[in-house]
């Protein structure tokens, strides 16, 4: 989850009221933030990407003002009519059809604000922007641009100086050599034409969604800002723009609209929307009985506007609150504004009688029988390594089931048997006292005709100097008799894991498993020094 740094001195200025550090830190969780690190001067908080307005300290301060009762109700965007324009060329339809933008003027940027904006941009790219696929943001020094801008497409030999670079590069060079180009190049695929924003002098402003130009980079001296958002979906572009507009307004900038037209693009409105909720539903879902004025105040503390009307409440929601879908979201806002700590837990009446699943009951019985036979339970993961499951145990890997892109080579294959894992467990306990007798029950995965099947298996091993087939077969017989009252039959077989002549198939009507003495070669592969005998059976179908 993304992280924002809150400096106490900065936050105090933003809140407009002196609030103790302790109060701030203890309030943060109640606006949905997790405290990651706290120091004397700052606190780092994690926020959920469903609240993009929390991507800077400005948005968090606004929320805190609400819950602390310093400022309540919806923060209003004041957008003056501007004169600059973006003309959209229809050729962008095939690559990245939408652009939206706003100007923020007469403000001041300090180092911390710039750093908050950079982090915000990255977080918005990853969250709401879906790693720049859905929306991507360009923030520019307005004074370096001559209007109108054109959002169009260009060929791959188009040249400009990309951000943080000293020389011109072609589109192809950027995609091949520039770090950001390499990371996001897949977003424009093999398209011959790529999106580009040019100013009226033909200078490149941005190559969305990859990289901006060096020419319009913002710095401490920047007074006027252009924010442009390109997207594959118009609403998402305007949502993103709304989040940034609010932040810049809070940072002291004046907002000016831009005229955008061409190819179904238009000037963004960024206006709030209204949702009506039923006060009775609020009380019913939350399990409380509060009056409509109290609900209205709770909503205002959550930085929304609200107004009672009969038994209903009309809520006004700022554009940046993209997380609000319907009434249930507003009910949560009431709960937060009212204060989660004010909810007294209750126990719902119930006449239902709980019950275990049948499989659970069977597995508990199996476990008690195995323990009675002197076997201890171990637990291994279902995602294992090829080394343990196939290579070291010499098993047939033709029906291997692997997962894509596992971050660990030790966990990239789904197990189709439990026994190999038990031998691996023994190999990690060579310094412990023998005999070692272990069992495990669990799910295994089988692939047949491109379909996956899950079964529950039991496997056990006995490891000590005098272990042999007879010992483990005694356990098998006793297991079946005690657990199911069944007799099992073992017939001579060949198994890649077992010693020839000490290997058998297990039958209860049908073949349900295998038993034998583990091959010395396998024992060696696992660097074990004692002989092992074991069996594995399929439980699915037995109960």
């Amino acid at each position: 989850m993304p992280v924002v740094t809150l400096h106490f001195d900065r936050l105090t200025r933003m809140l407009g009221k002196k609030i103790s550090k302790e109060k701030i830190v203890s309030t943060l969780p109640f606006i949905g933030l997790d405290i990651e690190e706290e120091t004397k001067n700052y606190v780092n908080v994690e926020y959920s990407p469903n609240r993009p307005d929390y991507s800077t300290d400005y948005g968090i301060a606004s929320s805190l003002q609400g819950l602390l009762g310093i400022k309540t109700g919806m923060p209003k965007l004041k957008i003056k009519k501007g004169k600059d324009a973006i003309i959209v060329n229809p050729s962008v339809r095939k690559v990245r059809p939408f652009v939206t933008a706003i100007e923020a003027k007469n403000g001041k940027l300090d180092d911390e604000t710039i750093s908050q904006i950079i982090v915000m941009q990255e977080d918005l790219h990853n969250g709401i922007g879906r790693r720049r696929k859905k929306t991507s943001i360009g923030i520019h020094d307005l004074d370096k641009i001559s209007f109108p801008l054109t959002y169009t497409t260009t060929g791959r030999n188009h040249k400009f100086i990309p951000l943080e670079s000293s020389h011109e590069m072609t589109i192809n060079e950027i995609l091949e050599k520039n770090e950001t180009g390499i990371k996001y190049g897949h977003l424009i695929k093999n398209s011959e034409k790529v999106p580009i924003i040019l100013d009226s002098n033909g200078n490149t402003i941005s190559f969305p969604p990859i990289i901006n130009s060096e020419q319009t980079k913002i710095s401490k001296n920047t007074k006027n800002i252009l924010v442009e958002v390109t997207a594959i979906e118009k609403n998402a572009a305007e949502d993103t723009l709304a989040v940034i507009a609010n932040i810049l307004q809070d940072a002291g900038f004046e907002l000016f609209s831009m005229k955008i037209n061409g190819a179904n693009n238009s000037t963004p409105l960024l206006t709030p929307r209204s949702l009506i909720i039923d006060a009775e539903l609020v009380n019913k879902i939350l399990g409380i009985k509060i009056s409509i004025p109290k609900m209205v105040y709770a909503l205002k503390k959550s930085r929304l506007d609200a107004q009672g009307k009969g038994k209903k409440i009309i809520c006004t929601i700022p554009r940046y609150r993209t997380d609000i879908f319907g009434p249930m979201d507003l009910i949560e806002e009431v709960a937060l504004g009212y204060g989660i700590e004010n909810f007294e837990p209750t126990i719902p009446a119930s006449i239902s009688v709980g019950q275990k699943n049948k499989i659970t009951t069977i597995l508990e019985s199996i476990s008690s029988v195995m323990i009675g036979l002197g076997y201890s339970e171990v637990m291994n993961l279902g995602l294992v390594s090829q080394r343990v499951l196939y290579d070291h145990t010499k098993r047939d890997a033709s029906k291997i089931i692997s997962v894509s892109d596992s971050k660990s080579q030790e966990h990239n294959i789904l197990r189709n048997a439990i026994l190999p894992g038990l031998i691996d467990t023994l190999s990690r306990n060579i310094h412990e006292t023998y005999p070692q007798r272990l069992f495990e029950t669990g799910t295994i995965f089988l692939k047949t005709n491109d379909e996956i099947k899950e079964e529950i298996h039991l496997a056990c091993v006995s490891a000590h100097n005098d272990v042999n087939f007879t010992e483990i077969k005694s356990v098998l017989q006793s297991f079946f008799k005690t657990t199911f009252g069944l007799a099992c039959k073992t017939t001579t077989s060949s198994n890649s894991m077992f010693v020839e002549g000490r290997s058998a198939d297990i039958f209860v009507n049908n073949k349900i498993g295998e038993i034998g003495e583990i091959l010395p070669e396998i024992v060696d592969n696992f660097k074990l020094r004692v002989p092992i005998a074991g069996f594995e059976i399929r439980l699915t179908g037995l109960y």
Binding site: F30, G32, S48, P49, N50, G127, R131, K134, K284, I285, L286, G287, D323, G326, P327, M328, E332, A335, L336, I340, E341, P345, T346, I347, P348, S350, S352, G354, N357, T360, S367, M370, I371, G372, Y375, S376, E377, V378, M379, N380, L381, L383, I401, S402, V403, S404, D405, S406, K407, S408, H411, L414, N429, E432, T443, F445, K447, D450, E451, I452
Partner: protein
């Protein structure tokens, strides 16, 4: 007296009370125990400071070559006296005696003179008188009488005679052996008196309960399984019925049905395990698929793809099992739960595993509330022995409102985040025909197990280290 003595110790004590300073061999004879038993018993008694062991030396003496000759023929001085006695006048020339006594002439003259038996006058030896037996002769006979056994020097007495015999070459041979004797300490005497009393008969049958016995390991269930079972029992106690489902699931039930858009970062391969080349054939009813796709298109405004929802994943939560059950049975009232393995494509570390156990419960009911959900949590944690809890708001894609529980951990002295909870979003329930509100809550079980067993590395739960499994206590 707290110590209880072994029967061997009892017998030794009785014997030593009768007579102190016994050797192990003596004790064997008296107690009829084997020498090994006696030696072991002595060690035990010594360790308990009941008996003390003294090491000493025994000196033995036997006749040498000359000694044996003397036994047969008499000492040289006795031979001289006998010779003189056989001559008329009881005297002879020195040379005559020399011929008679050969090598023994010199000692014979010297000792006979020392005994006052002869006088030498003008080269003649005169017998003055004699004793019938000398101390030397007595000792030689005594030693000879015990032969072939060795005689104990101390038992012969008459140390000065032995010393003078010692000076005569090859008369005597000496040997020595080390040996131990056992006697009782004061504590031992005290204890021995009790042993010989009436209590002895009872004590004889008891054993030393204070010494450590050999280690045996109990076969047992895995501690994590114990926690899973404990959690399950609590759910059942709260009136919940257990459901189970597959660990491999279609993306449809794992994500789409839970209003998680297809382009959501959680669905990317870097967070979720997809099964290579495998797709679900039938994911749901026609109605379910069309309703879910509609709500995605409306809520998230994107091009929902059926193909994407068919991709098979290793379930990232057990909620997919719950939601499918609710969608298929559409209960108006229900309390159900499931426990099982879930998977996340994480880099394995002390904090994360690729696979862990999750429990999740839901309550469906016409009048269930957020406060009820909080109450169920409080009840659950109380049963787990966690009394201090609080709730914080949080976010889950498929619940609204959403809360998380913070539990105060006494051992760590801080608040720890445990289960998450919420009410299923209408975007989840409505398309699947679920009419009443659904309270849902759950979380990872390993977290609870770690707190319980005081572990700070989650991997330890799956290391199956027998050193830990055999020794961690079952009731904590």
């Amino acid at each position: 007296m707290s110590q209880v003595l072994h029967p061997i110790e009892q017998k030794l004590l009785k014997s030593l009370l009768e007579k102190q300073n016994l050797t192990p061999e003596d004790l064997c004879e008296k107690t009829q125990l084997s020498i090994d038993q006696v030696r072991r018993g002595i060690e035990w008694l010594k360790f308990k400071e009941i008996a003390q062991v003294t090491e000493s030396e025994k000196n033995f003496v036997a006749l040498g070559k000359m000694g044996n000759d003397a036994l047969e023929k008499g000492l040289p001085e006795r031979q001289l006296v006998n010779y003189l006695k056989s001559i008329d006048g009881f005297s002879c020339e020195m040379s005559q005696a020399k011929t008679q006594l050969k090598n023994e002439f010199n000692p014979a003259i010297a000792n006979a003179k020392k005994n006052g038996w002869i006088e030498i006058y003008e080269n003649r030896i005169l017998l003055k008188g004699y004793h019938d037996t000398t101390p030397e002769e007595r000792i030689i006979k005594l030693i000879a009488s015990k032969s072939p056994a060795l005689s104990l020097v101390d038992e012969l007495g008459d140390k000065s005679t032995l010393d003078s015999l010692k000076k005569r070459p090859e008369f005597l041979t000496f040997t020595s052996t080390k040996y131990v004797t056992v006697n009782l300490t004061e504590k031992g005497i005290e204890m021995a008196k009790n042993v010989s009393g009436d209590a002895a008969d009872v004590l004889v049958r008891a054993i030393d309960v204070e010494s450590a016995a050999p280690t045996v390991f109990a076969a047992r269930s895995h501690p994590l399984q114990d926690v899973i079972n404990e959690v399950r029992e609590i759910f059942i106690g709260l009136g919940f019925t257990e459901i189970v489902g597959n660990q491999t699931q279609s993306s449809f039930w794992n994500f789409d049905a839970l209003f998680t858009p297809q382009d959501h970062p959680a669905r990317e391969m870097q967070d979720t395990f997809y099964l290579k080349g495998l797709h679900a054939k039938n994911i749901g009813t026609k109605n379910q698929i069309s309703n879910v796709s509609q709500v995605h298109k409306k809520g998230w405004r994107y091009d929902w793809k059926l193909e994407e929802s068919k991709r098979l994943v290793l379930r990232t939560h057990t909620t997919c099992v719950t939601i499918k059950e609710l969608a298929d049975s559409k209960p108006e009232e229900a309390r159900i739960f499931s426990i099982g393995r879930v998977f996340r494509n994480e880099k394995v570390s002390y904090k994360h595993l690729v696979e862990f156990n999750q429990v999740e419960g839901v309550v469906v009911g016409k009048n269930v509330t957020l406060r009820d959900l909080m109450g169920l949590q409080r009840e659950f944690y109380l049963k787990m022995g966690m009394k201090k809890i609080k709730f914080w708001p949080t976010f889950f894609p498929y619940t609204e409102p959403s809360l998380q529980t913070m539990v105060y951990n006494e051992k760590l002295g801080k608040w720890v985040e445990l289960f998450g909870m919420g009410i299923f979003r209408p975007e989840v329930t409505v398309p699947l025909g679920i009419k009443n509100p659904v309270l849902a809550w759950g979380g990872g079980i390993e977290r609870i197990a770690m707190l319980k067993f005081g572990l700070d590395d989650v991997r330890e739960l799956y290391n199956n280290n027998l050193g830990w499994l055999r020794n961690v206590s079952k009731c904590q």
